[in-house]
């Protein structure tokens, strides 16, 4: 098994007719993901390299059997696109778009009751050997027993590649996104990994800003039986400065990397000093 995406994923891409959407959508298909439809209002009836395009996600669900939606539309139109996906009846919505106004996402967050939303501003989800939905380069990850959940992209590739070099692979890699308001937090994904029989260890990659890591620490102590190894980026980040990701900002004295590390360690989670050490600890714990 694996989480969020797998062989049963039937993907519809909003924005498939756009440059980024077609590039990544077709890459996902080349990896083996079952790409069943694209959606661009007004372009229904066309196709992108044989993939039928519909006017709405609802039509893609009804006519092509889509169960997972990926959002690749520009930021100012993305929240309505996520809303549309939620209402269409798909099980999972993966929003790659960066730059969605946070209050738009706040309203969208409360509309997602049945559907799980991952992102926005995320790299997507890869279940090695099964399906790839998003922009994660699959070549750095092998199938295996380690589940990864991360706010960051390249940092995850760095850690994934070190795990691969050490001979370990991944059940899934989930990018939850670097925005202040995201559909699924660490806790939501930790829950899925806990229930996934293939996952034996979880690597959690956090960064400065907000308190999702602190909340995850509490949740790990109460609800997660599998070992968790963490990494936190941003120890040298100055307060009040946004470090690339919209959510990566220390506000006053809260949201620091040090506080997150301490919260995790207080609950028995080992926290690596560097991506390299994090991968090393994960391998060491996994092999007992």
């Amino acid at each position: 098994m694996s989480i969020v995406v797998d062989e049963k994923t039937k993907l519809v891409v909003s924005g498939l007719t756009g440059r980024e959407g077609s590039f990544h959508g077709l890459r996902n298909r080349a990896y083996g993901t079952d790409l069943v439809a694209g959606v661009t209002p007004g372009k229904g009836g066309q196709d992108v390299e044989g993939v039928p395009v519909f006017d709405s996600i609802r039509e893609a669900v009804d006519e092509a059997g889509a169960n997972t939606s990926m959002i690749f539309v520009p930021a100012r139109f993305a929240a309505p696109a996520i809303d549309e996906a939620i209402e269409s009846g798909v099980e999972t919505v993966i929003a790659i778009t960066e730059g969605i106004p946070v209050l738009d996402m706040l309203k969208t967050y409360w509309k997602a009751k049945e559907a799980g939303v991952i992102g926005p501003n995320c790299r997507g989800v890869l279940s090695p050997g099964k399906a790839n939905v998003g922009i994660i380069p699959a070549q750095f990850f092998d199938p295996g027993k380690i589940g990864v959940v991360s706010k960051s992209g390249t940092l995850t590739y760095q850690i994934g590649n070190e795990l691969k070099q050490a001979g370990e692979g991944n059940s899934s890699i989930v990018g939850i996104g670097g925005d202040p308001i995201i559909g699924s937090d660490f806790i939501d994904i930790l829950k899925l990994y806990e229930a996934d029989p293939e996952t034996e260890l979880i690597v959690m990659v956090g960064e400065i800003g907000g308190d999702a890591e602190e909340r995850a620490a509490e949740f790990i102590a109460s609800d997660i039986s599998k070992p968790v190894v963490a990494y936190i980026a941003g120890f040298t980040a100055p307060p009040g400065k946004q470090m690339g990701h919209a959510g990566a900002i220390i506000s006053g004295s809260s949201g620091t990397a040090q506080a997150k590390k301490e919260a995790l360690e207080a609950k028995g989670v080992r926290v690596g000093e560097s991506p390299t050490e994090t991968a090393r600890i994960a391998v060491e714990v996994l092999r007992g």
């Binding site: 930021a75 100012r76 730059g99 969605i100 106004p101 946070v102 209050l103 738009d104 706040l106 309203k107 967050y109 409360w110 922009i135 994660i136 380069p137 070549q139 991360s150 706010k151 960051s152 992209g153 390249t154 940092l155 995850t156 590739y157 760095q158 590649n161 670097g178 202040p180 308001i181 990659v205 960064e207 800003g209 907000g210 308190d211 999702a212 909340r215 980026a233 941003g234 120890f235 040298t236 980040a237 100055p238 307060p239 009040g240 400065k241 946004q242 470090m243 690339g244 990701h245 919209a246 959510g247 990566a248 506000s251 006053g252 004295s253 990397a257 000093e273 560097s274 991506p275 390299t276």
Partner: protein, 388 residues
């Protein structure tokens, strides 16, 4: 994007929240003219994006023309450091406003609560001091209530909150009105933080916002033209301004090791490992996904324009980004710019072998290749010399 106090107050006024009238001034002469027009006593307030201005000597009351001149002279051009070590911030402008006859000092705010995915209204009768300290010493004195972000928040809903905070009975209706308008301002203007400390009741029993701290969501500036203009004017650091112009994500720090990585997380992590190796990062620069050669030339231009930089680290893990493009950019930049400092390059991931060949073929004398992130961090710290 953070607003200066006077910009926040202008926003409040647009939403019907009472603020003292005043004028902004960039020189002592302008400040004196403003003070004469406003009358005495008046407050002269440093316009910098940080709390604790009063303690730092950035807020003074002038009783007459001579004091106005003296205070404006003292405050303009001073450097203010924030309570958590932020800054220093140079004072380029002062806000001159009419003195207020203060009967009560309260605290009110509406912020984005990331954890709960709602807006959070907070009110306290203990205003005019550090609210984090109030919350730590006397948690009951800070009343917190979540606001449903999907619909308007009314004064009727605000009233129990201000009443629970123990504000004066005769000010409750007006304070509730102000709290509702603060929430409206947050929702209409895409503010993720609005803080009024102090929110005062005057001797005439009017509720007035005496300060304004406002943060606007940078991703929403496209729908707020006026605020977007303020944002463009706000950057005074030369490197940050240059980076903004070139579309790069750059944050200036105060060390001597220039840093370029791809991806925000990897870039933060690179700063951390450089610091662990004993170095001091000069900047955060995320070259972004899919970086092309020109972007690398731009990035290096910004990094070396900071004179403190004595060595540069490239930490690239190519995913969508191709290492051969990065390598071409490095070679291109080396021929266009007088880098004058050693470059440590670590390329891994997509097309890293092609990238390394391009670098080897270019025969750059100031270039050092490393195969691991940690090795690269150690090397660049060694080449950069003593931490600044």
């Amino acid at each position: 994007m953070d607003l200066l106090e006077y910009q926040g107050k202008q926003l409040f006024a647009e939403h019907g929240i009472a603020v003292p009238s005043g004028e902004v001034a960039s020189t002592v002469e302008e400040a004196v003219v403003a003070a004469e027009r406003i009358g005495y006593p008046c407050a002269i307030k440093a316009q910098v994006l940080i709390g604790g201005r009063g303690k730092a000597g950035g807020i003074k009351i002038a009783a007459d023309r001579a004091e106005a001149e003296g205070h404006a002279g003292a405050i303009l051009d001073m450097d203010i450091v924030g309570p958590h070590g932020e800054g220093p911030f140079r004072v380029d402008q002062v806000w001159v406003e009419g003195g207020s006859d203060i009967a009560e000092e309260y605290y009110a705010s509406v912020i984005l609560d990331r954890g709960e995915k709602k807006l959070l209204a907070m009110v306290s009768a203990k205003g005019g001091m550090d609210i984090e300290a109030v919350a730590a010493e006397d948690p009951g004195a800070l009343v917190k209530e979540h606001i449903d972000p999907t619909r308007p928040f009314t004064a009727a809903e605000a009233r129990p909150i201000v009443a629970a905070a123990g504000l004066a009975e005769d000010a409750l209706d007006d304070a509730a009105e102000v709290l509702a308008k603060l929430a409206e301002t947050a929702q209409d203007e895409d503010a993720t933080l609005i803080e009024v400390n102090p929110l005062i009741v005057t001797a005439e029993r009017q509720v007035v916002a005496l300060d304004a701290k406002v943060t606007i969501d940078g991703n929403a500036l496209y729908r707020h033209e006026g605020l977007a203009e303020l944002d463009a004017e706000a950057i005074d650091d030369p490197q940050e301004a240059m980076a903004r112009e070139k579309g790069l994500t750059y944050v200036k720090l105060d060390g001597n090791v220039g840093i370029l990585a791809n991806g925000a997380g990897l870039c933060m992590s690179t700063l951390d490992v450089v610091a662990q190796a004993g170095g001091a990062p000069a900047n955060f620069l995320d070259a972004g996904g899919g970086s092309k050669a020109e972007a690398i030339v731009d990035a290096l231009t910004v990094i070396v324009s900071d004179e403190k930089v004595t060595a540069i680290l490239f930490n690239i893990f190519g995913g969508i980004t191709r290492c051969d493009e990065i390598a071409k950019g490095i070679v291109e930049a080396s021929s266009q710019l007088d880098l004058g400092v050693p470059l440590v390059v670590r390329l891994d991931g997509t097309n890293s072998e092609e990238g390394l060949e391009i670098l080897a073929g270019a025969g750059l004398s100031n270039l050092h290749q490393e195969t691991t992130m940690l090795g690269a961090a150690q090397k660049v710290v060694e080449l950069a010399g003593g931490a600044s």
